[in-house]
Symmetry: C2
Subunit: 223 residues, 2 copies
């Protein structure tokens, strides 16, 4: 489960202060599928980065499966990220010198998965997102939506217990976007993966059980 | 006007050949607003890159306002891009060391616009896309949708005669996306700008007069 207690995140820019999150409290139970909805700049990515242990709050607590991450050291945070969290980044963050195959394989190498099993799982995941034909392309030899699908495949290949998806269908047509949500839904049904999706895409919302509305760094509504 | 005559684009990847466009013919009249629709990987970005003189076809001709660009040298292509074309890239292509203000200002500097007029036009455009408050942020200090809006502002600030928009609302919520399309529509009404939008977003399509459907590098339907 994931608990946020009165979380603040500030960025300092020269003399100005940007308050990206202002007192966010939230509870997400194991195997829930929820979405974070809100205007551009409202704090969705910042919120996901805190839950994903990529960043730490200025104030308040982020508690993942009973552990308070806001006071952990970098090594501990790295372990949580590597083992529990599949993060689909808004800007993909692919490694430019590696092929699609190698990008997807990387987290399995970090987890010490043996070579044969890595190969089987990477091929299966690339096939699921429709990229088998493009496995040897580097990111700059792929379309925008193909890069997005490499980022998705890389996040999901570890069978994570938490998926954080930052606008995962932004560059995908309706059909392909639906295929991705079906994969995520199946993960949720088969291994109880908790899913938090930041999205502007109304088609994603049909898969979501609870909606959290963010505006100017605050939760303004839940349904 | 824009004319494509039997255009092919091939990429060579080691021993394999990727046929991104396979015999595309298209005519777009001055001040038309058209969209290119199609699945991820179908060739939309490749098509826009050819029209935008960022790349040249493997076969066939691209004719912009009566001039055949497929046989021009780089200097001539650069002149056309700088003076006529406002390109909103799918991957934004912002300069990381420049602020939002400076990124938007760059094309006006290239065109020799005097300092006072540059300032007035950059401020006006940043205001229109809702980013005035963020003008001194660098790209890594902006949200995904804010970066997208800097890319949009930079493309439109030159009052281009042709706008090529590659999924311009991918990272924007409905309200902000609508604001952007209104700006583009106004440009079309006031200075007869020709607009070609590659998009997956159904909300963009309400602004479009003609739809071109692309699949596997071919036009399969027009409406
Ligand atoms: N440099 C390259 N080398 C090899 N193949 C490439 C290269 N660039 C693009 N491709 C391939 O060409 C095809 C068309 O790519 P393009 O970027 O035009 O698609 P798209 O319609 O814009 O897709 P999306 O909606 O995902 O952005 C894709 O299958 C892609 O893998
Ligand atoms: N490093 C930074 N320095 C200063 N301000 C920042 C920084 N990173 C983000 N911000 C600001 O924090 C606010 C929230 O950003 P965030 O990326 O969380 O928004 P978002 O909801 O994901 O937006 P979008 O839908 O456009 O992706 C924005 O106004 C942004 O400009
Ligand atoms: Mg974001
Ligand atoms: Mg594209």
């Amino acid at each position: 489960s994931i608990v946020l207690k009165d979380v603040y995140k500030e960025y300092i820019l020269g003399k100005t202060k940007v308050e990206a999150l202002r007192g966010v409290s939230l509870e997400v139970s194991k195997s829930e599928i929820i979405s974070i909805i809100g205007p551009s700049g409202s704090g969705k990515t910042t919120l996901l980065n805190l839950i994903g242990c990529i960043d730490v709050p200025t104030k308040g607590e982020v508690i993942i499966d009973g552990e308070n991450t806001s006071t952990m050291d970098d090594d501990k945070l790295t372990l949580i990220r590597r083992h529990k969290i599949g993060f689909i980044f808004q800007t993909f963050n692919l490694i430019p010198v590696l092929t699609a195959y190698e990008n997807v394989e990387m987290p399995l190498i970090s987890l010490g998965v043996p070579k044969e099993e890595r190969h089987r799982r990477v091929i299966e995941m690339l096939d699921k997102v429709g990229l088998l034909e493009f496995k040897d392309h580097k990111p700059d030899e792929l379309s925008g939506g193909q890069r997005q699908r490499v980022a998705i495949a890389r996040a999901l290949v570890i069978n994570p217990s938490i998926v954080l998806a930052d606008e995962p269908t932004a560059n995908l047509d309706g059909e392909t976007g639906k295929k991705i949500m079906e994969i995520i839904k199946t993960l949720n049904e088969e291994i109880s993966t908790t899913v938090i999706v930041a999205t502007h895409d109304p088609r994603v919302l049909q898969y979501v059980e609870r909606k959290i509305y963010l505006e100017d760094g605050r939760i303004v509504r839940e349904e």
